[in-house]
Subunit: 212 residues, 4 copies
C-alpha cells in the first residue's frame, strides 16, 4: 500500500534468515570460547609441586561452576533459537532486529559471567547475571510470538508447538527467578540451583520430560 510513495528501506532490509543464522552461530561460538579464556591459570611462581598444582586447580572450582552455568545457558538458548528458525523460511526487518537484540544479550554474557566469577559473593553481580538471563528469555519469547503472528510459519501442529515453546520458556524463567531469589540466603545456593536446572534441561532425563 505504502509502496505507491516508493519503497522504504525498512521494507526490504534484513530478509535473509541464512545470514542471521550465520551471524548467530558466529556470535555464540565466539562468546562460548571467550568464556573459557577468562579462566585464569595459577601463576607459575606459586606452584612448586604436583600437590600445589592440584590444590590450585581445586581452588578454581567455584569459577569453573560459574563458567559451566554460562556455557549451559548459552547452549540451551542456542538450541532454542535454532528450533524457532526451523519454523520460518524467511526473515524480515523486525525479526532481524529482535534477534540482533537477542545476540547483544548473548555478547554480554561473557562480561556478566566474568563479573560473577570475580565477585561471586556479591548480590549485585548475581542480579546483573540474572537480568542477562531474563533478557535472553524475554527476547526468545518475543521472537516466537513474532514468528507465529507475522512470519506465516508452517501450520501443521502449530498451536501445539507454540504452546510447547512458550510453556518451556515460562517454566525455565520461573525456575531461574526462584534461583535468583535464593541469593538472599547465599549466592552459592543460587549458583547451585540454577546449575542443576540447566543440567536438567541439557540432559532431559525421562522423569522431567513430562514437564515439557
Amino acid at each position: 500500500m505504502k509502496k505507491k510513495k516508493g519503497t522504504a528501506y525498512n521494507e526490504i532490509a534484513g530478509q535473509s534468515i541464512e545470514r542471521l543464522a550465520g551471524l548467530s552461530d558466529g556470535i555464540f561460538a565466539v562468546a562460548m570460547t571467550v568464556l573459557v579464556l577468562d579462566l585464569h591459570l595459577p601463576s607459575v611462581e606459586s606452584i612448586h609441586s604436583e600437590s600445589d598444582l592440584w590444590r590450585a586447580l581445586i581452588r578454581l572450582s567455584p569459577q569453573v561452576g560459574v563458567f559451566a552455568m554460562s556455557l549451559l545457558t548459552l547452549s540451551i538458548f542456542w538450541v532454542g533459537q535454532q528450533t524457532q528458525f526451523n519454523y520460518c523460511s524467511k526473515a524480515d526487518r523486525n525479526f532481524t532486529w529482535i534477534h540482533i537484540t537477542f545476540l547483544l544479550a548473548v555478547l554480554i554474557m561473557p562480561f556478566s559471567t566474568k563479573l560473577l566469577a570475580t565477585f561471586i559473593t556479591y548480590r549485585i553481580a548475581f542480579a546483573i547475571y540474572w537480568v542477562n538471563m531474563v533478557a535472553l528469555g524475554i527476547l526468545v519469547y518475543v521472537s516466537w510470538n513474532y514468528v507465529v503472528k507475522h512470519l506465516h510459519a508452517k501450520t501443521v501442529l502449530l498451536h501445539d508447538i507454540s504452546t510447547a515453546i512458550k510453556k518451556r520458556i515460562i517454566i525455565a524463567q520461573s525456575l531461574y527467578a526462584f534461583g535468583a531469589l535464593l541469593c538472599l540466603v547465599n549466592t552459592y545456593w543460587s549458583l547451585g540451583f540454577i546449575l542443576l536446572v540447566q543440567l536438567n534441561y541439557a540432559i532431559a532425563p525421562k522423569f522431567s520430560r513430562r514437564l515439557g
Copy 2:
C-alpha cells in the same frame, strides 16, 4: 574479448557470494564479541562492599555508552550489507574486494572504539571514530552502485529500491557528520547524539519510518 590471450586470474577470482557472506558473518561476530571483551572489570582489591561494586559499575557507564554505540553501528551496517546481498546472486572480483575493504573497516571498529572509550574527552579520538563510520558508509554506497551497474540485480522495483538504499545511506551519514561536528562543543554531546541516531535506526519507530 581479452580471453583470446588466455584467462586472467582477475576474471575468475572471488565469485562466491556465499563465501563472502560467510567471511562477513565471521568478522562481524568476532568484532562484536571482541568489543565487549574490552570492557574492563573493576579490580578486586578496590571493592569491599556491595555499594563499592555498584559505584564502580556506574563509573563504567560512559564506556558502556561507547560500546553500545559501536555495537549498534556494526549491527546497522550488517543489516545494510545483508540487504544488498539479497539483490545479487553472484559476486565478482571487484565486488569481493569492495566488501573486503568494507570488512577491514569493520575490523578496525574495535580499535577505534577502544581508543574513544579510553580517551573519551579527546577530539582526535572522536575524529578517528567518525572517519571509521564514514568509511563504512562510503563502502556500502560504492558497493550498492556496483551491484546496480554490474551485477545484474533483479529488476523488479529496482529503481525504487536503489533510491531507498542510497537515500538511507546519505541521511544517516549526514546525521553522523552533524554528530561529529558537535564534538566542537563537547565529545559527550557527539556521543549522545549519534547513540540516539543509531537507536532510532535500530528501533525504527512509526513516526521516523516515513524518512526512509
Copy 3:
C-alpha cells in the same frame, strides 16, 4: 504416541544439522586461533641482538610442540565430526546435545593446552590434557552409535563404514592412553609419542593406511 497429550519441546528442538555444523565450525575456528594467541613473544627488554631473538625463539620450542599437538588433535576431531555429519541428513534433540557436549570438550582444549604448556613437567597437567582427549574420543564414539541407531543414515556400505569409524576411534584412543602412561617416565616422552601419533593420522602415509 505421546503426541496425543500435546507436543513436547524436546520432540521439536535441535533439528537443524546445518546450524549444528555452523556452530561447530565457528567453535573449532575460534578454539584453534586462540591456541596460537597463547604463544607469548619474548619480552622486548630481554632482546638486544639477532642471536638473542634466535635463542629466545628456540626456547619456545616445547611450548610450540604442545600447541602443535593440540592443533593436530582439534583438526583430526574436526575431520572426524565432519565425516559423521555426511551420513545423516537431519539432527534431533539428543544428537544436538551429544555434539554440544563434544563442542564443550573442544572449548576446554585451549585451557588444558595452556595448562600443559605452562606446567609441562607436571603429571597432573598431562593427565587433565589426556582426559580432555578421552572425552573427545568417547563423544565421537557415542555420536556415531547414535547416528547408526536413530538417524537412519544412508545404508549403502553402512556396516563397513560403521566398523571403520569405530575401529579408528578405538585404535587412536589406545595409542593416546599408551602415550599418557609414558608420563610415568617423563611428560616429554608422552608429548613426543602423542605428537607422532597425530602426525601419522594427519599425513596418513601408505604403510599405516592399512591399519585404517
Copy 4:
C-alpha cells in the same frame, strides 16, 4: 578395489567442501580480527593533550604498516582459496588435509605478525614472516595441482584457468622473495616493497592486470 577388504576410514573422511569452507571462513575471520587486537593503545598516563595523542598515534605507524600488510596478505589468500573452491564440487581426505595445513599457516600469521611488529628491525623476525608467506603460497599451489589431477574440476577453460592460477602464485611468490631479500639492506625496505605488491594485487589497476 580395496573395498573388498572393508572400507578404510581414510576413504570416507573429509568429503564435505561446505564444512571446509565454513571452517576456513571462521579461521580467516578470527585471524584477521585478532591481528587488529594486537595494536596496543598508548597508555593513558602518557597522554595529557590532543597533540600528545596525535604524536602517540603517529608513532604507531610502522606497526600499522605491518598489520596492514598481514591483513592484505590474508585477504589475498582468502580470495585465492575461494577461487579454487569454485572449481571443485566435492572434497576428499587429502584435499581436506592440504587445506587444514593451509589454515594452520593462516593461524600462525597473527603470531608472526606480532613478532615482526615487535622486532621490526630484526632480520630473523622478517625471515619467519616471509617463511609464513611462502608456506601459504606453496600450499595454495599444491592444492590447485590436486584439484586439477584428482577432483575432476569442471573442464571448460580448465587449461587456461590452471595456467592463470599457477602463474599468479609464482609471480607473487617471486616478488615476495625479492622483497624478503631487501631485508639485507633494511627491513623497512622489505616491508614497504611487499606492502606495495599486496596493494597492487588488491587494487589491480588496469596497467598491472596484463601481468595476470
